[in-house]
């Protein structure tokens, strides 16, 4: 039997130069009977982890290497390099990092031949294909140059480590080169090595490579000419085919096996080590950790909590056993840095299951009090690194934390994880359309048709889009186009930076994985995404930006300054009923995670009274539980309308807390462990498949495994069905309990601040826009309805941010200059500074002293009434100010400078209410005066239109008409095409549901009108009021530019 190893293959991770995924190459190799394969992607190891993992499953050898672009005297060529040992791999990583970091992102990097010589230890070099150094030398300088090159290679790598590579793709020119190569190999006594220079798994995938070639060169297939492949021979050949092809040179085949045997390195032995924490006085890490945890525990739990002490000791023992103390200390160090620098930080993810994390201050969820499952976080059996995510205020503060890590572990000791962007429906349709030479309009129409709305109908497939766009699928070209659009799905397109994942390494990270520059200055990125890192056991810390964290931090500062009170988020009063009251009534605008329409619609039914109810609430409205049809049963059980039952008696302990309905990932894992005898490791694999974008195939595998296990445990087929349904629907996303608890904590904190310190909370949330679900106008109106006095922007007292005036609970909110449309931050600050020196006496004074303010800025300030009080006692009206501004801001020239204006007062009329509304919304996006609907209330009442508050009192089933300003429109993916509209008036919000058929009758009114009136039937069940629309009509209220948050 012929033994052959394919030692030169490129995957789609040589972006746009390879046609198959690493997994497909491995599958192809297994099918062809090849025992070992080497993946040599260009200038990196991008696909190596996936290649390695899939090879491991099929018991193949996955060799590691790269095609390194090297610059020598003849120009650029691709050196195929294979890693023989760990030293070789590390050398190559360092060399790649060096070359990548010296050029900006998106620029092709190359190594210099001298650098390669310095990093050559442990590497095997092949002479390459038509882009390789030997072909290049022959082309440029003939045989003499080739001789010189081989001599140099032998000097650099040693005679044993240079192989003369032969490829046979049935091309004449290549064969000529091969003949010369064979002669040169004999002359230099170098071994021959046959490879097929694989670029795609099967012959048919040559088409993908041709399409990629066109995308890369911005050409169409019809005009790409010789850029395209000459034939389709670069697929994975069987050993027999290769032996036949090289029957004249059998040693070239046998050498592949020998070399494969020699290549000792695999990604199994990556040499990664998490950094050790430098313990101050030279003690051991675990002792230091124990001391810190005990100290923290006594602060958090108090001295007498025996249960907590035991749990912490148990966890610490496990941490010691698994040698993870360094990891905990390092995360603790980051958290400590944040605390010391006033950056609010909270851990979430499975770390919230740990009492040690709580004691160290990493998380704020009391794992002992909430009886959270520690094994979900850390288990001896899984042998995997724990996962700690840190939530930080988004923006500069998160960046500070990231830069701290870079500083502490060195530029080459830490890096962000990558994110692989792949071809999806729309991008594939667009790119392939261009390549096929469709006109822009057709291409745009096609790509536009693919999933432009979140809701995906049952027939939302490529075929349907094509027929809809008027393309005939029986036509060859169109059929090919469709085929390629589908085949391009999930192939990598480029790498970007993951939003928050960071990897840290003991020693230098650049010898573990090549690093690349990121677009953002001061950042470096590894070549692998977070799944690859996890697969290879590289530990990462997620630093995620969360707008609400910034709000909480700002609120605390405002409370300190204006209420003279100190709020500690870790010690908020537990289960304060004045906080739960509004939540139960779904009065939750601005509160974290519970403010969306869907959340509001379930809050009165869930009726949260304690913290755990909030935890379930946060997890309840997720696509997983909703599509798995777990939300409604849970709410009915919660209201006592349905008995609590379990799919199987053995599951009672797991599902008891959530009334027999699984809501959290942990519960599903436990279910799998109990029902189907999954081991901890298998359950973990299940978890990753659940949260995984590449999950479909994995889910199928897991389902059969689940069913087999359940049959073994004699679980009835019907119960099996419901258990499988529970588990698979979570593939669409569900929360782990600890994660939910962390979010619930922030939700509770936001509710607490909103209820107790409305002014501070509102100011903080207005200063951190855009975030959350509602526009600033809605947030302001909501705060006003709750009794907060909101004062307009005024150049005599507003600063850049919204702030509070007054002390204690009588504070009022002063809108900040940040809300003036078109005003630059610097101009705003300059004005505040100038005012700090001396108050402005007139518009003229303002214009002269703050030259940064443009005429447009001044006019805008005048229009929104911010200059009304500039002259002290003598109050101007807005038009007076505008009249004066126009003169003050204009350089009239010497001729008119001394002309005394005959009439000092302005000839203009005051603005009327409508004009003021228009100016307010245009200039600030909101009004702090009465709601526009308030001006029309009398009139509306006469024609029988109810206000939002009146609607709540109308009985179920009655007809009603409401009117208001549209503040949100939603069409969630889980709601079968229903459209949810929220209307706002001066009394509150009214919820309207529009059925798809009503929408299709008059889409423009539903989609575009800013004010509408809706007639329909009232649905008033369990305190949740909806109006089921029967007719939607436009309503003339004001021409002010109100704004609606649509389809997010």
């Amino acid at each position: 039997m012929t033994k052959y190893a394919e030692l030169h293959a490129r995957s789609a991770f040589t972006f746009l130069e390879g046609g198959s995924l690493p997994e497909a190459l491995i599958a192809g190799a297994a099918e062809s009977g090849i025992s070992a394969m080497a993946l040599l992607d260009r200038n990196g190891f991008y696909g190596s982890p996936r290649f390695h993992m899939s090879a491991r499953k099929l018991s193949l050898h996955a060799h590691v290497g790269t095609e390194l672009v090297v610059e020598d005297e003849l120009g650029l060529s691709n050196y195929p390099l294979l890693c023989e040992s760990q030293a070789g791999y590390q050398n190559l990583c360092r060399l790649l990092t060096k070359t990548k970091l010296r050029v900006p992102k998106h620029t092709r990097s190359s190594a210099r031949i001298e650098e390669l010589a310095q990093h050559a230890h442990g590497l095997v070099c092949l002479t390459g294909d038509e882009q390789g150094p030997l072909a290049r030398a022959l082309e440029e300088g003939g045989i003499e140059a080739a001789r010189k090159l081989l001599h140099k290679q032998v000097t650099i790598f040693g005679r044993d480590n240079v192989y003369v590579e032969l490829q046979r793709h049935l091309e004449r020119k290549q064969e000529v080169r091969n003949r010369i190569s064979v002669d040169l190999a004999r002359e230099f006594k170098l071994p021959l090595l046959a490879t097929n220079g694989v670029c795609y798994a099967s012959m048919a995938d040559r088409e993908i490579l041709d399409v990629f070639t066109c995308i890369r060169n911005k050409r169409e297939l019809a005009t790409a000419g010789k850029l395209l492949c000459r034939n389709a021979e670069r697929f994975i050949r069987t050993p027999q085919q290769m032996a036949r092809l090289f029957c004249d040179l059998p040693e070239a085949i046998s050498n592949t096996h020998e070399l494969s045997q020699r290549l000792d390195f695999s990604l199994e032995r990556l040499g990664y080590e998490f950094p050790r924490y430098p313990v101050p006085d030279g003690g051991s890490q675990i002792e230091f950790l124990r001391a810190q945890a005990r100290k923290g525990a006594s602060d958090r739990y108090g001295p007498g909590n025996e249960k907590a002490r035991k749990q912490i000791e148990r966890e610490l023992d496990l941490i010691e056993k698994l040698e993870l103390s360094g990891y905990f200390l390092i995360v603790w160090d980051i958290v400590r840095f944040c605390r010391d620098n006033g950056i609010l930080v909270q851990g979430r993810g499975s770390a919230a299951n740990s009492a040690v994390c709580y004691a160290l201050g990493i998380t704020a969820v009391d794992a002992v009090g909430m009886e959270l499952l520690f094994e979900r976080f850390l288990s001896e059996e899984r042998g995997e690194w724990p996962d700690i995510d840190l939530d930080l205020p988004s923006g500069d503060e998160r960046e500070k934390a990231i830069q701290y890590i870079y500083k502490r572990y060195g530029q080459l000791g830490a890096a962000m994880t990558a994110n692989v962007c792949t071809y999806r429906g729309r991008s594939a349709a667009r790119e392939v359309g261009k390549v096929f030479g469709f006109d822009t309009e057709t291409t745009e129409r096609l790509s536009g048709l693919v999933g432009s709305w979140e809701w995906r109908g049952p027939e939302d497939t490529f075929d349907r889009h094509f027929s809809k766009a008027g393309l005939d699928l029986t036509e060859w070209r169109i059929a090919k186009y469709l085929d390629l659009c589908v085949r391009l799905q999930d192939l990598p397109r480029h790498l970007s930076q993951h939003s928050g994942g960071m990897v840290i390494c003991q020693g230098s990270l650049d010898s573990v994985v090549p690093l690349e520059p990121a677009t953002m200055p001061g950042r470096v990125v590894v070549q692998w995404d977070k799944d690859d890192c996890a697969d290879l056991g590289i530990i990462k810390v997620d630093l995620l930006g969360l707008g609400m964290m910034a709000v909480l931090k700002d609120s605390i500062e405002l409370i300190r300054d204006h209420y003279d009170e100190e709020v500690d988020l870790a010690h908020l009063p537990a289960d304060a009923q004045d906080v739960y009251g509004p939540i139960r009534k779904a009065d939750t605008i601005g509160m974290f995670q519970v403010e969306s329409r869907a959340q509001m619609a379930s809050l009165p039914r869930n009726n949260p009274e304690k913290f755990y109810d909030l935890v379930t609430q946060v997890a309840l409205i997720r696509p997983g539980p909703i599509t798995g049809q777990m939300t409604s049963p849970y709410l009915r059980r919660r209201q006592g309308k349905e008995p609590v039952t379990y799919p199987h008696p053995s599951l009672e302990p797991v599902l008891k807390r959530t009334l027999g309905v699984p809501l959290f990932q942990e519960q599903l894992l436990r279910m799998a462990m109990i029902c189907a005898n999954f081991t901890g490791g298998e359950a973990e694999e299940l978890r990753r498949a659940l949260g995984h974008k590449r999950s479909e195939r994995k889910m199928k595998e897991i389902e059969s495994k689940l069913r087999a296990g359940m049959t073994q445990n004699e679980i009835k087929p019907e119960s099996q069905d419901s258990i499988v349904q529970f588990i698979t629907s979570f593939a669409l996303y569900g929360f782990p309990e600890s994660h939910s608890a962390s979010f619930a904590l922030i939700a509770y904190a936001s509710a607490f601040l909103k209820v107790r310190y409305l002014g501070a909370f509102t100011a903080a949330i207005l200063n951190n826009q855009p975030m959350g679900f509602y526009s600033p106008a809605t947030l302001v109106k909501d705060a006003q309805r709750h009794g907060l006095k909101v004062r307009p922007i005024d150049v005599t007292c507003s600063i850049w941010d919204c702030t509070l005036e007054g002390k204690g609970h009588a504070v009022s909110l002063r809108m900040g200059l940040r809300y003036v449309r078109g005003l630059q931050h610097a101009a705003g600050e300059a004005m505040v500074k100038a005012r700090g020196e001396r108050a402005f006496s007139s518009t003229e004074d303002l214009t002269r002293r703050v030259p940064q303010l443009s005429r447009a800025n001044l006019a805008m300030l005048a229009r929104i009434g911010a200059l009304n009080f500039i002259s002290g006692e003598a109050q101007l009206h807005r038009r007076d100010a505008l009249w004066q501004i126009e003169k003050a801001a204009r350089n009239v020239g010497p001729l008119l400078l001394d002309v005394v204006e005959p009439d000092e007062t302005s000839p203009l009329n005051r603005m009327n209410t409508e004009e003021r509304l228009v100016a307010d919304f245009h200039g600030t996006g909101m009004t702090v005066g009465p709601h526009p609907m308030a001006y029309r209330r009398e009139e509306l009442r006469k024609v029988g239109i109810s206000s939002a508050s009146e609607l709540r009192r109308i009985r179920h089933g009655k007809s009603a008409v409401v009117a208001g300003c549209v503040i949100t429109r939603q069409r969630p993916g889980t709601a079968k095409g229903l459209i949810f509209i929220t209307l706002e008036d001066e009394t509150g919000n009214a919820n309207v549901i529009v059925m798809p058929d009503l929408y299709s009758k008059d889409p423009m009114v539903v989609l575009r009108e800013r004010f509408i009136k809706v007639r329909g039937k009232v649905q008033n069940v369990d305190g949740i009021v909806h109006l089921m629309a029967e007719k939607v009509m436009p309503l003339e209220v004001t021409s002010a530019e109100t704004w609606s948050h649509d389809f997010h």
Partner: protein, 634 residues
């Protein structure tokens, strides 16, 4: 002084409708119930509420073009919107009143507009607007030669002195409106003592409105107009600037409409060009002040206003008062480069026709030369004398011979002013394809283009002069060619032209182009010391000859060529190429072999060449599974 202004509201829509009505009639498809969709966009055929075109139009049949205005008027009831912009982000550029009522707004995206299925969408075609504007100018020209082509869809006419001819001011205005109506455009018309007052009065009045402003009542009459009209008008003018000077250069004309007929639009609001943003600022400031109409603007104190809005603000105030007196920017009709000659007696020989043509051409080229222009396209229309009995049942070919007109279009590779060359080319063309009947009228039109002055590089090889080369090619074309394929060979390539090697992996792919390919300056590469690819001469067979090949273990073993079967002694291969997989007709997949054969004595090849061995390049076409000889190695 008396000025009149004709303003066509929603001009792009009306222009589109006018041209569609013309096409509708011209195509004689009045019996069909819906109009074919000329633009892209789903469901955009014209529909009314009853989804049928008015029966009156349907009964028209192939009527005369006088009915255009009638059809256009009938079309107006449909909801129509015009899209403009780059293909991937087209937005609504204009719409008519019914469409506006249906919910269309200017600036909507195409996707948003498509949500209103009752609205017919049209892509903006600049030529339609040129045609419509030309029609408007023509109808204004009937009243006075002193015209100003203000902007697309707006014309101001100096009517001073015409009252005596046409009657009262009101009558003049009504006549103007009716004239526009007859040419298929519904317009607002205003007459006043100065141009701008007439302009704003026309802009501001209702659909098909007629406004007469008496002397001294300007300020009062304009008082209720919104100040936002300044924006509209300046935007129009600004846009005219871009549109007529940049995107329609001389030489790119169609439908006989010459860009020269519209002078480059200038801002005539008292300021130099490019002030559109400033107008917007001023109108914005005015609306901030609560000044909504001309009356309020007129009432503001002038000095204070000037201090705030500058001279331009003052100018706008004077416009609002109707006080601005200005001269019109005269509209000069462009000359068309067309000459025709009706013959007293028909000519049926080419030679006398040549004399006529030569004379006409010389006259046209003189006109062009006088304007420093050249031409790269000449169109000759011949009216023929046909005597036929219409009752005869004719075949298609026969009926072509009864066509009463005959047209030839000559395109030149470069613009030229040389009448002799053009004449020679025309002569050769007509000699190859003579008219099928005696000629009674000859018309020649030249399409102007800018003269190209080119200087070849000092080190470039000397090439023949393009015009002369074209002449030679035309001569060759008239000589070669056959009856079956005409000027093309059986593979669809031209017989005369410039051979070009195509950029393709497909072996032996060449094309013949009719125009000279742009010469590329090749990068000089250092001479290679030794080429690694050995070169062999091969005699290529075009087209390849089919052979029978016997295989042994998938390798050619025997070849039957020229009626003789030979054993293959040695082979080399296979060499595979394939490509064009995306196009079923063009796809190829072939496998080449080099084979050495030994001929027996007495074989024709042996007799000719005198040796017994030969090496062939043979290939198998995978699609047809046939073998061919591509060439023989020398």
């Amino acid at each position: 002084m008396l000025f009149g202004c004709i303003y066509v509201p929603d001009f792009p829509v009306q222009a589109a409708l006018l041209c569609e009505a013309k096409i509708y009639l011209a195509e004689g498809i009045a019996s069909q119930k819906t109009l074919p969709d000329k633009s892209a966009g789903k469901g955009s055929s014209l529909k009314t509420s009853s989804n049928e075109i008015s029966p009156a139009i349907a009964s028209l049949g192939k009527a005369s073009l006088d009915k255009v205005s009638f059809i256009e008027k009938s079309f107006r009831q449909y909801q129509i919107a015009v899209l403009d912009g780059p293909a991937n982000q087209m937005k609504i550029f204009a719409c008519n009143e019914p469409a506006r009522r249906a919910g269309i707004e200017i600036g909507m995206t195409k996707v948003q507009a498509e949500a209103l299925p009752s609205v017919a969408l049209r892509k903006r075609v600049l030529d339609h607007e040129f045609i419509a504007h030309a029609a408007l100018l023509e109808c204004a020209g009937k009243f006075s030669p002193r015209l100003e082509s203000t902007c697309p869809g707006t014309v101001i006419i100096d009517l001073t002195g015409t009252e005596r001819l046409s009657g009262s001011k009101k009558k003049v205005a009504e006549k103007l409106r009716d004239a526009a109506q007859d040419s298929g455009l519904s317009a607002n018309v205003a007459v006043a003592s100065n141009a701008d007052t007439a302009l704003y009065a026309a802009l501001g009045s209702g659909i098909q409105g007629v406004t007469v402003i008496q002397d001294g009542e300007e300020a009062e009459s304009l008082g209720d107009l919104p100040v936002s009209l300044f924006n509209l008008q300046t935007a129009n003018l600004y846009f005219t600037n871009l549109y007529f000077t940049n995107s329609h250069p001389v030489g790119r004309q169609s439908d006989g409409f010459h860009s020269g007929s519209l002078p480059p639009g200038k801002l005539r609001l008292g300021k130099s060009s490019g002030t559109q943003p400033e107008t917007a600022d001023i109108v914005d400031a005015l609306s901030g002040w609560g000044i909504r109409d001309f009356k309020s603007l007129a009432a503001l104190p002038s000095v204070a206003l000037t201090q705030r809005l500058g001279q331009y603000g003052l100018h706008l105030q004077r416009l609002a008062k109707g006080e601005v007196q200005r001269e019109l920017v005269p509209y000069v009709e462009a000359s068309s480069f067309q000459q025709s000659m009706e013959l007293e007696e028909s000519i049926d020989l080419l030679e006398p026709l040549g004399f006529v043509l030569c004379d006409l051409l010389e006259r046209i080229l003189l006109q062009l030369v006088n304007r420093s222009l050249a031409t790269d396209r000449i169109q000759v229309d011949l009216d023929l004398e046909i005597h036929s009995d219409c009752q005869l049942q004719l075949t298609r070919q026969q009926s072509a011979l009864l066509e009463p007109t005959y047209q030839r279009v000559l395109k030149l590779p470069v613009p030229t002013q040389d009448a002799k060359i053009i004449f020679k080319l025309l002569e050769l063309d007509l000699a190859g394809k003579p008219p099928h009947a005696p000629v009674k009228k000859v018309s020649v039109e030249a399409f102007p283009a800018r003269v190209k002055f080119g200087q070849t590089g000092l080190f470039q090889p000397v090439a023949p002069e393009p015009a002369k080369l074209e002449l030679t090619l035309a001569r060759l074309r008239s000589v070669v060619g056959d009856k079956v394929f005409g000027d093309k060979d059986e593979q669809g390539r031209s017989l005369v032209g410039f051979p070009v090697i195509l950029d393709s992996n497909r072996p032996d792919s060449v094309d013949v182009q009719t125009t000279m390919p742009a010469s590329k300056v090749k990068k000089t590469k250092p001479a290679k010391s030794k080429s690694i690819v050995p070169r062999h001469a091969m005699r290529v067979l075009r087209p390849p000859a089919e052979v029978k090949v016997g295989l042994r273990a998938r390798v050619p073993a025997t070849i039957s060529f020229g009626g003789v079967r030979s054993e293959v002694m040695q082979v080399s291969g296979p060499w595979r190429t394939s490509g064009s997989w995306w196009d079923r007709n063009q796809a190829w997949n072939r496998e080449e072999w080099d084979v050495e054969v030994q001929w027996q004595d007495g074989h024709a090849g042996v007799r000719q060449a005198g040796f017994r061995h030969a090496i062939f390049r043979v290939f198998r076409d995978a699609a047809s599974d046939r073998w061919y000889v591509e060439g023989i190695y020398a």
